[in-house]
């Protein structure tokens, strides 16, 4: 039972971090437009996030240090600050999108305009962070997020031609009527959705919050290699549902209600009820993670006391930053900026910001001064080097692709 409870950090990170508003939207958009021909990106993204989260989680367990501590130590205060600004900007955009996502999910349940929910959602996000113990928070939202498995059930109910789906997924090709740049732009978005930097900030800082040490390395691995692939499978289920129901009708996904449509058509009201619970849990969980991550990053860079372990008064500046970022995120959404659009842009910027944090973590995970026996093994390093190249290429390609395709239009 204890092991089960400990896996919740991974499940929350995966459900509320891997499958967040970004994945819900990106996978449905891509499924409705490209079928499963971009499924390979999800697989590459899952392997990448496993690798990255494993390294930062291991470093956190062994040294007790969060990601941004190490970013500044390895890059110095100036480059570290540039990194902090870029990463925090992306995390903040994601936070705003998640708050909007919770509100949109509540709109689906009530048909009351999502804008009216935004202040309430923002307050609850802050309140949970202020009052709820870390582990309870993980368990509650991780468990509720499992309701998203409705996508998998719906897929099964839709009774697809599995061999055809598999063929699409294993024979990637650009569909007729779509240009290569557009295809690649969506590949970058999906990749950004899978490997969002805040997942790593949260996972490593969460490991410190839970007081992990060297003996928790097994738990750490279990979390990573169970949680993220589970999130990846869910992503694929979302894309497959969209492929089966929305693609043949020529529906382009612009709203969360369209993401839910395949599940509604196959599982009806019960399916929708599960889905809304899942949407709320996943986006709320991700809102918690991103709000905490802005506080974690800034506090770690500046050496402030951070975390939910102690009373808020003991980590005053950390809690002040979290509160302010939640308020600003809600205000951004209240300008009636479409949360789905905010999500789409934050995914691209995620892809740009990734190598900035990836490289320092990779270096520290190899430093025996910090890690002792637990440095990266050969296989991990070989794979990690491949991803370093890949991440760099994607980071440089992301913005030009966005401009060339007018963000995928």
């Amino acid at each position: 039972m204890k092991v089960v409870l400990k896996v919740f950090l991974g499940i929350l990170t995966a459900i509320g971090g891997f499958v967040d508003i970004g994945d819900l939207v990106a996978n449905a958009v891509v499924g409705a437009r490209f079928g499963l021909s971009l499924a390979w990106v999800v697989v590459i993204g899952v392997v990448g996030i496993c690798l990255f989260a494993d390294m930062s989680g291991r470093v956190a367990a062994v040294t007790g240090r969060g990601t941004f501590d190490l970013v500044r130590e390895r890059l110095g205060p100036r480059a570290g600050l540039a990194n902090l600004v870029a990463s925090t900007f992306v995390t903040f955009l994601t936070l705003a999108a998640e708050v909007g996502g919770v509100a949109l999910a509540l709109e689906l349940a009530t048909s009351v305009s999502y804008l009216l929910f935004v202040p309430l959602v923002a307050f609850l996000v802050w309140f949970v962070i202020w009052r709820m113990p870390f582990e309870k928070m993980e368990q509650a939202f991780g468990l509720a997020g499992l309701a998203l498995l409705a996508f998998a059930v719906a897929l099964w109910q839709l009774g697809p031609d599995w061999s055809e789906l598999l063929r699409q997924a294993t024979h990637p090709s650009v569909p007729d009527g779509e240009g290569h740049p557009t295809y690649l732009f969506y590949a970058v978005s999906l990749f950004g959705a899978a490997m969002t930097p805040y997942e790593v900030f949260f996972f490593s800082s969460g490991a410190v919050e839970e007081g992990w040490s060297r003996k928790d390395l097994r738990t750490e691995r279990l979390n990573v290699y169970l949680g993220f692939p589970l999130g990846g499978l869910l992503s694929l289920a979302i894309a497959a549902c969209a492929t089966l129901v929305l693609l043949p009708q020529g529906i382009g996904v612009d709203h969360l209600d369209q993401v839910a449509l395949p599940v509604v058509l196959s599982l009806g009201k019960v399916g929708l009820a599960f889905l809304i619970v899942g949407f709320v849990a996943a986006t709320f969980g991700a809102a918690l993670e991103t709000a905490l991550s802005t506080g974690y990053s800034l506090s770690q860079y500046l050496g402030w006391q951070w975390g939910k372990r102690t009373a808020p008064r003991e980590a005053a500046r950390f809690h002040a930053v979290v509160l302010i970022s939640v308020v600003l995120g809600a205000m951004l959404i209240l300008t009636t900026l479409d949360p789905v659009k905010v999500t789409e842009y934050s995914l691209v910027f995620s892809a740009v910001a990734l190598p900035l944090t990836y490289l320092p973590i990779l270096v520290v995970a190899n430093d025996p001064d910090y890690m002792g026996e637990s440095v990266n093994g050969r296989v991990v390093n070989a794979l990690a080097s491949v991803y370093l190249v890949l991440l760099t290429v994607v980071a440089f390609a992301a913005i030009p692709l966005m401009i060339a395709t007018k963000a995928g239009q």
Partner: protein, 141 residues
């Protein structure tokens, strides 16, 4: 059927300049976007027919579809047709857009009043518009 005839007429005039081609592409994209909104609403009506969805969800779904279609319509209205052939194309597209947005708003009103049982009939009335929009979208890709 009348609209399809017009379409064939329009398609016969091969556009001579970049401007005309550009206008046709815009018309095609407009048709594609509105067809997507219509399909969404029609699938929603399908769910209503089979009692698979309730009023709150459907009114959000159909309301958003209507909003999107109206936005696309007003963007298209703002584009200047370059010549007489384009004027005819504009007439056809405008017709289709008007019937789509009217239909969507009827669906939204029925839905918000709780008359979910009326949605399937309203949706059926939109299917020919949807077919024509799709034809147009495919033709001017």
């Amino acid at each position: 059927m009348r609209r399809l005839l017009v379409l064939v007429l329009v398609a016969g005039c091969v556009s001579p300049s970049f401007n005309d081609r550009d206008y046709e592409l815009k018309a095609g994209n407009t048709a594609k976007a509105v067809a997507s909104s219509l399909s969404t609403a029609i699938l929603g009506a399908d769910a209503a027919r089979r009692h698979k969805a309730g009023e709150p969800y459907l009114s959000v779904l159909i309301g958003n579809a209507e909003k999107d279609a109206l936005a696309v319509q007003s963007t298209f209205d703002g584009v200047q047709p370059p010549n007489a052939a384009a004027d005819r194309l504009k007439g056809t597209v405008d017709d289709l857009l008007a019937s789509a947005t009217t239909g969507l708003s009827q669906m939204r009103i029925a839905c918000r009043r709780g008359h979910l049982d009326r949605l399937p009939a309203l949706a059926d009335g939109l299917r020919s518009t949807l077919d024509e929009l799709r034809f147009l979208a495919e033709h001017f890709q």
